[in-house]
Symmetry: C2
Subunit: 222 residues, 2 copies
Amino acid sequence: MQIKVIKNILSLNDAVATRIRQNMDGRSLTLLNLLASPGGGKTTFILALARRLAGQLRIGVIEGDLASSVDADKVAAAGLPVVQINTEGGCHLEARQVEKALPQLPLDDIDLLIVENVGNLVCTASYDLGEDLRVVLSSVPEGHDKPYKYPKIFHNLDAVIVTKTDLTPYIDYDLDEFKTAIRSINQDVPILPISATKGDGMDAVCDWLLGKLRSRPPSKGL
Amino acid sequence: MQIKVIKNILSLNDAVATRIRQNMDGRSLTLLNLLASPGGGKTTFILALARRLAGQLRIGVIEGDLASSVDADKVAAAGLPVVQINTEGGCHLEARQVEKALPQLPLDDIDLLIVENVGNLVCTASYDLGEDLRVVLSSVPEGHDKPYKYPKIFHNLDAVIVTKTDLTPYIDYDLDEFKTAIRSINQDVPILPISATKGDGMDAVCDWLLGKLRSRPPSKGL
């Protein structure tokens, strides 16, 4: 009974995700679903990306949180168009919530729309939001064993970004162990380590991302 | 429909949790439900507690993870009795899983049984496991704003333990801001900062915990 209901919810969600993709087909906008644990560094990453690609790429954001507008306030303060979704207890975003948020954004003026999902390494993995790219952040202080413990989220994604690498000297963390754990689940996914606060690795992330956009933005400086 | 099914699941869970409490009533064992984000420091905390209270308190552990026995292996290597529950994708532990694990442990030889829940700040909050104590760990690298974004888990609990305080010098984290955020939700819950790896704050946590046990253990050195 429980399983049947969950299957129904997922197939309803998939139908809305498909509709989002169809509606986006005429646009040059790229939709990115950003997943991580609570405190994995999602908002800090978005703000670092926006600073780095200012003048080159127009970024918009949909913020998903159980409650509050803490993240949306930070993103708005950086001058990015943003919509906050409060799930009111819900443990993940669903496609219907994203579909409802889209008309509230100036879609013609956005090249990359980042959906910052609820901080959750489990439930978010099952819900397609109609995205073009699915990126998981895994922070150094969470430890290098997370892929073994939360395998599903690392199966079906476009990149793993290892955040907060500036904390490595102070923590028992081994990036090679993390890569081994990822490769036990996923042979091909790019693994990109960064420190969003220090800037390390951000060039590689920007290069990867710019190569994945639906339409190439003008080269820097134009 | 979805809401009704979820209500049914929760009331079934509550019935099992009540049965666990009834069965534990004749015992001196204290059951502790330990909640945190992925990588919040749950296993490191358990191991630090076991080292500190060795010879004074007999600790057993039930490990909850989607997959793997990474944590149970660590706990077993420290000589503690442990059972691993794999939820196979499930985002939280349920009382029925704990009830099934209990007979696999030497309950007569355990004073404190810690259930390390799945790393998840959302779904775990809704499931009573028949515990005597509910403790949430919130790690410094997750940031001081988490209570605003995941309020439910901070409503109904016996203590908040702030972990990884040794990382504070390297992170934009303000413990006073965290306390303010907690107090906006919960006026009374004790807030105990620790570094499990360095030992800071562990005395206060042990004192708090020993005062909350169903039966007082013999004083240290006996």
